[in-house]
Structures are given as C-alpha cells and as structure tokens.
Amino acid sequence: FFTKIILEIMDEIFARAKSILVIWADDTDPENLPAFQEILQTKAKQAHIAFENVQMLLDSRRATSSFDVILLGLVSKRDTPTNVDLLNEFFRLLRPNGYFITHIEHAKQSQAIDHFKMCGFTSCNPLDSNSSFLIENKDDDVKKLGSLWLCQKPSFDIGYSVPLRNRADSKTGQVLPTAETKKTWTMDDDDLIDTDGLLDENDRKKPDVKSYDCGTSSTGVRKACKNCTCGLAQELEQEEHAAAKQSVKSSCGSCYLGDAFRCAGCPARGLPPFKPGERVALPTMSDV
C-alpha cells in the first residue's frame, strides 16, 4: 500500500517538475546519460533537465532555489557518497518543497539520514522499489543492498533551522508514515518554524531615529516613555518648567481659550481654558 502511494507521488513529482538537476559522478558511463535523459524527459514532460558532475557542482555556483528535483548518483553503477557540503548545496539549489532523490546502501543509511536532516531536509523516506527507471543503471548487488531515498526541502527558504532529532530516532531508519492522505508530503506535526529564521540582517537593525522626516523643523527631542519610571520624565519636567517661566508676555490675546488655541509663549500654557478676565484655580488632583 505504502509503495503504491509513493510510486504515484513520484509520478506526480516528475510530472510537475519544471527544472531537474541530474548529478553524475566519475564512475558514470557517459553512454548512459542520453538514454537516462530521454526516459526522464518522458516522465517529466515540462522539465528542463540539466546535468552536472559532482566534482564541478560547488564551483558552478548555480542560482539559489532553481530546481524542483535533484537526482544524485543514480546513473552510475555504484552509489555516490554524500557529504555535508554537497547536501547543503543541494538544499540551497532546491526550491522550497523541492525533492532530493538518491540511492543509499542500507549499511550507510542511518548516517546518511542524519546528514540529510542536519542540512535541513525533512520527510526522508525510502522507496521500496527495485524496478524504478531511476536505478536501472545500477549493478544488481548495489540495488539489492540499498534503497532509493526521497527527501524534501521544507516550504520556506534559507534561514530555517531544523531541531536535530534524537540520535536514537534516526538510527532505526524507520519509514515515517504520512498522516491521513494529505497532498503535502510533510509531517503534519504541530511544530512551528523557528520564526527568528524569517529575519535577515536588515530586519535586526533598528531604524535611524534621526532620519525620520517629521516634515517641519522639529528636532529629535528626548521623549520620556509612557510609563516612565526611570527619572527622565522628571528631568524633562524641570526643563519644561524652566522654559515656561521665561515667557511672561502673551502675544495672541487668546489666553483664556485652551492650549489648542494658545501661542507658544503664552503664560497660561498648560492650564485649562478659563473665562476671559478670570483665572481659574487649578483643581488639585489627589496628592496621595
């Protein structure tokens, strides 16, 4: 049952792919490449297929997130070993939700899976099929002692960090079941992404307060925060009072109206409105 689902999904993966990268190694017989390309193209009708030698890959510096599927070491008789640098590069090259497929010897699989996960791949599952066109070119004994593995890059780009699974879990190399029959090929757990990974360098910078355009000649004055308990508000208060004491003359004649209508130098500044000719005594708030 499980195998069947996987084969169907494999078909879908290839059918939808727009861009596939086939990585070959020095032990690949070059005569096998065109044939492989042909059969792959029939499965992946809309895909552009690129080929690269594993030694040249890191130097090529291809564009980030540019492939839907990467196949490693399938065209050769023996398996191509993976290492962390290579896997990181595959991760970078894949689009979010892209797939990485390779063939791994059973004896080496737990270490390989560890590496896959360390580099960010999720949903790493073996494909229990020896008849896939993907491994036609492999030696029989290689096919017998290993499996095809399918891994996926999660649904967002670089910056995401995977919690390292317990060593114990990965060593069993268990097949992870899909939940219900969801279309998305990822574990439907309640885990959240590491949201800090969403932010880049620029996000962590604070804005330059001085660069705020206030539209007038107002200077960037020190402002006490709303719940000032550090004393800055008291300091500002002293400054304000000193400034207020200096202005004695009113120049607008509307002192009796509220602050909304008073001029900057008004001696009544800070007081509520009052009747013209009369000064109201300030109602004292409780001074407890």
Binding site: P207, Y212, C214, G220
Partner: protein, 544 residues
C-alpha cells in the same frame, strides 16, 4: 468586496488603528470587518483582501489576542497556501526596544513565503517617530494603501474624515426607580447591583504602604490584599482600574450630564448589549483619560459646528501639520478629557451614544505578585511603582492603574484575577535571579518560599538607585532565616553608575560556579528595553 481588518493588540493601540481604518473604509463605501487575529481559526478564514495591524510587545512577542493565529500561520507543515490572498501590513512598535517590530517583520515575511501578495509596501510604525505611530502611518502608508487597494479592485477610494458614521451602540434610557422587565419576563430592580466582570473577584485591600523613602522622587507601594484566590510565585494579578473621580466629574460637566449620573441605560447593537449608569460608564467602563489618537480628533470634526473650533480641528488634521497635533496632544500626554475641555462647543454637541466611539474600554493591567501563598496565606502582595510625572500641562500625568492602586484605602475593594506569567521552576537546583527595580517582585515571594527548605540555594542581583531610598527588598530578604546570597547594585550611591550587569561580572566566578557545577537556573525579570541585552552581554562575559 470585503476588507478584513485584522489586529493583534496588547494595550489597545493596534485596535485603535484598526477602528480608524474601518471608519475610513466605511466612509469610502468599502464594507469591512474588524476582528482580533485570533478569530482566524483556519487558513480558509482569510478572505481575499486583508489589512493586518500588529503590535510587538514584551521581548519581541506577539500580543495575546493573536497568539493562536501565530501558531497557525507559523506551522511548519504549511506550504504556499495563500496565493489567493492580498494583504497590507501595519506594524506597531517602539525602536527603543531591541526587537523593534519583530512581529510585523516576521508576519510579513511569512505571508510572503506562503504566497500572499502585498497590496502595497508595509509600514513599520515607530513610537519614537516625531509624530508617533499615527504620524508614521499617515506619512508613509495611508494614502498609498487606499490608492493601491482602489487600483486593485478597480474603484477609486476616497475616505472622507468629515463624514459622520453611525454610532457603535444605540442607547435606551431606563427609569432607575422602576423595576425593569427584561425580555425573558423576570422582574428585577437594577439599582445598585455591584457587577463583577466575568472571571474577576472582588478583593479588599488590607494595607497600602510606601516602601521608598519620602525624599525619593519615585513612589513605590507594597499593597496587600485579602483573598482566597489561589496562585503560585511567578503569577500576575490582573487588575481592572477605575478612572480618577476628578476626571469623571470634569467630563460629566463638559457633557452637561451632572443630573444624569445615577441614570441607567442600555447600550446595544447587533452583537452585544451593556447596561450601566452614567457614573459607571465614565468611571469603570470607558478609558476617558487615555491620550487620544488621531481618530479621536477626526471624530470630533463630525460634531464641530463652532467655526473657531472646527477650523482648529481641521488644521490639526492636515497632513503637513502632524507636528502641531503631536506637540499639542501626544507629546505632553494630554488626555481625552483635557482635549474636550479645550473644545467645549464641540463637546457639548456630542450625542451621548457616541461616547463609545470616542473612548476605548478600560483594559486590565498585570502586576507580578510579590508574595508567596505558603508564606502569606490568604494574602496577595504587589509591588507597584506609581507612574506620575509632569509635562508642560499643569496637572500631573498619571498612569491609570498605578495611581488607582496608590489611592486605595484599606477596606476598599478592587476587581482582580490571577494569570500565569513567569515560570519559576521550584526544584532543588539553585536559582540565580536578576531583578532590577520592581522587576524583583516575583523573586521576593519566591525567595521567601524557597527558604522554607534550607538546602535550596538562592542568589539575587537587585538594582536600585540609592541604598537608603529605594532598596525596598532589603527589609524582607536580609534576615538570617532567609537562604540568600544578595548582591545589590546601587546605581547612584557613587560617582560612577553601577548596575546589575556590572555586579554580574564582578561576581562572575560565583555565577559560573553555580551554573556549571551546581546546575543553577538563571531568571531575569524587569524592563524589556535594554536590560535583557545588557544582562546577556554580562553573562556571556562571565562564561568566557
């Protein structure tokens, strides 16, 4: 076409901005729906056109009313599921905090990742902007948003600020002397029933003691309440404050409602219904002393007939005059009542039902509990720093809840409930606590409690300004029976400033020994502004 306005708001600012954009939408003929983000329970609930308005609170965290949404949208298993969604985003934050607007930044990146399309460039509004967050938003976002949304839906959108919208509630007055028969047929008199808000308990005050010296500028109180509410160390007391009675009376006189104070009314609309007296409305329900936002002024225009006042209001609201409005209102922290005092003609023309549009509901405030249920049975103690300062306005600016508590006399009752906050793990591992100022509150009760077991080791770094003026934990914690290594930092008792982080470095060897050899845990409480960064820098120094 429906515009979903979705907000994540901790202290009401984002909710305020949402209301403002909703008013703009309605005045432009755009149907809209305003909801907190937690109303979105599945990805499908996001419609086609969405305006996200999200604050950042605490240490770069999302506000409470969008926590569930956060867990939904940040699920690892999501793939590109929002390609049908158009969105715009307003982030609200304060750049004096290191994690400035992190919630807005993260959400917009995530929405992009999931395939949503931006209607226009987002704005990360900053409280430190010369004109505050409102100024920031209007300067870089508002008109661009309406234009871009209009282009998108093929309709020119011109929000008009001077067009009066229907009030949120309709009012029906009840004769307070006669019994009121509600629709289910039972008879009830509505006089003088003390209503306890759901979830809260009515709790009496035992004592209210100042713990800083009289000659110190800051007034810090130790308040003790009697209650059988159960709590543990690290929990917070959530309190519903009342507006100061002087402000209530001032507003009542501005509205000429003096003889209606005891009159009861029902305010209702499609979704809810409230009943209270006029006094209760202005004292217990509406935050009348809140510093008004731009939308308050926009609404006053609806009622401004008097030429002088109308002209001034429109002038304040002009795009190029943001500085003027900011200098008048926001910067000196002028309250809504005080603004109405300056515009008496307009104020007297405001129909009663519009008070719900002008003032938001009072929000509860949380205070870390400073006592321990084991040491202080049936008691809850709070350490509260009273926020009181002067600006150019003659009357003191006062924090709503701290001053409410400050004025309480013994016997008076308040509404309180308990919420979890700090997770203090009480096992045998030693605890290193760093609590400058009133941040020390949760540690006070916890240290007393842990000292019941002499094997539990405790270390406290406490910071204040002067040993003789505000070292308010020393009375309680410096006793033989208390198992504590106490390391104070008195910042102003010497020429150079000494803070807790300096002490951490000074005692680094001890800190290191406790952490590496004794498996001590480190707890930090206090202001989220610079303290966490400075402390972690100090700890890093210790570890290296």
């Amino acid at each position: 076409m429906l515009l979903n306005i979705l907000f994540g708001s901790q202290t009401g600012t984002a909710e305020d901005v949402s209301e403002r954009f909703a008013c703009m939408a309605r005045s432009a003929g755009v149907q809209c729906r305003v909801q907190p983000l937690d109303s979105i329970t599945s990805i499908d609930d996001l419609g086609t056109y969405n305006l996200f308005i999200v604050s950042t609170t605490g240490d770069g965290e999302e506000p409470e009313n969008m926590r569930q949404f956060w867990r939904l949208i940040m699920r690892r298993s999501l793939s590109v599921v929002l390609s049908h969604v158009h969105y715009a985003l307003i982030g609200l934050g304060d750049s004096t905090y290191p994690k400035f607007n992190f919630v807005g930044k993260k959400l917009s990146k995530r929405l992009e990742q999931l395939g949503a399309q931006a209607i226009c460039e987002k704005v990360l509004a900053d409280e430190q902007h010369p004109h505050g967050t409102d100024g920031c938003i209007d300067q870089t976002f508002t008109s661009i948003f309406w234009k871009a949304l209009g282009d998108l839906i093929g309709q020119e959108l011109q929000p008009r600020i001077d067009q009066r919208l229907p009030s949120k509630y309709q009012i029906q007055w009840i004769d307070s002397d006669e019994p009121h028969i509600p629709s289910n047929g039972t008879m009830q008199t509505l006089k003088n029933i003390p209503k306890i808000p759901p979830g809260y308990s009515s709790v009496p005050l035992i004592s209210n003691t100042r713990v800083t010296s009289e000659d110190h500028w800051q007034d810090v109180r130790l308040l003790e309440f009697e209650t059988d509410l159960s709590y543990k160390c690290g929990d917070v007391a959530v309190i519903l404050p009342q507006c100061p009675i002087a402000s209530v009376h001032l507003l009542v006189s501005i509205f000429h409602l003096e003889d209606k104070l005891d009159h009861r009314f029902i305010a209702s609309n499609e979704t809810s219904s409230l009943s209270m007296t006029v006094l209760e409305l202005f004292r217990d329900y509406l935050h009348i002393t809140r510093v008004p936002s731009r939308s308050f002024f926009e609404k006053l225009v609806w009622f401004a007939d008097d030429e002088l006042e109308r002209e001034r209001l429109l002038e304040f609201l002009q795009a190029g005059n943001m500085d003027d409005l900011y200098t008048y209102c926001h910067r000196p922290r002028r309250t809504s009542v005080e603004v109405l005092q300056d515009f008496p003609q307009t104020a007297s023309r405001i129909p009663f039902e519009y008070v719900f549009d002008l003032f938001p509901h009072i929000r509860p405030r949380s205070f870390s509990i400073a006592s321990s249920p084991k040491i202080h049975p049936n008691r809850i103690q709070l350490l509260v720093a009273i926020v009181r300062y002067k600006t150019i306005i003659a009357l003191y600016r006062e924090g709503l809840c701290s001053n409410y508590l400050c004025r309480l006399q013994s016997g008076e009752r308040i509404f309180m409930r308990i919420a979890t906050s700090f997770n203090l793990i009480d096992d045998d591992r030693p605890a290193i606590m760093i609590g400058p100022g009133t941040g020390v509150a949760p540690f006070r009760g916890w240290i007393l409690e842990r000292s019941l077991n002499q094997d539990k080791l405790n270390m406290l770094f406490f910071g204040c300004r002067y040993r003789k003026k505000d070292a308010y934990v020393e009375n309680d914690l410096l006793k033989d029976s208390i198992n504590l290594i106490y390391i104070p930092a008195y910042s102003r008792d010497q020429d150079e400033k000494i803070y807790v982080q300096h002490k951490i470095i000074e005692y680094g060897h001890l800190v290191w020994e406790w952490i590496s050899h004794k498996h001590a845990r480190v707890y930090l409480a206090g202001s989220a502004k610079q303290v966490p960064e400075q402390i972690s820098d100090a700890l890093k120094t210790v570890f290296i």
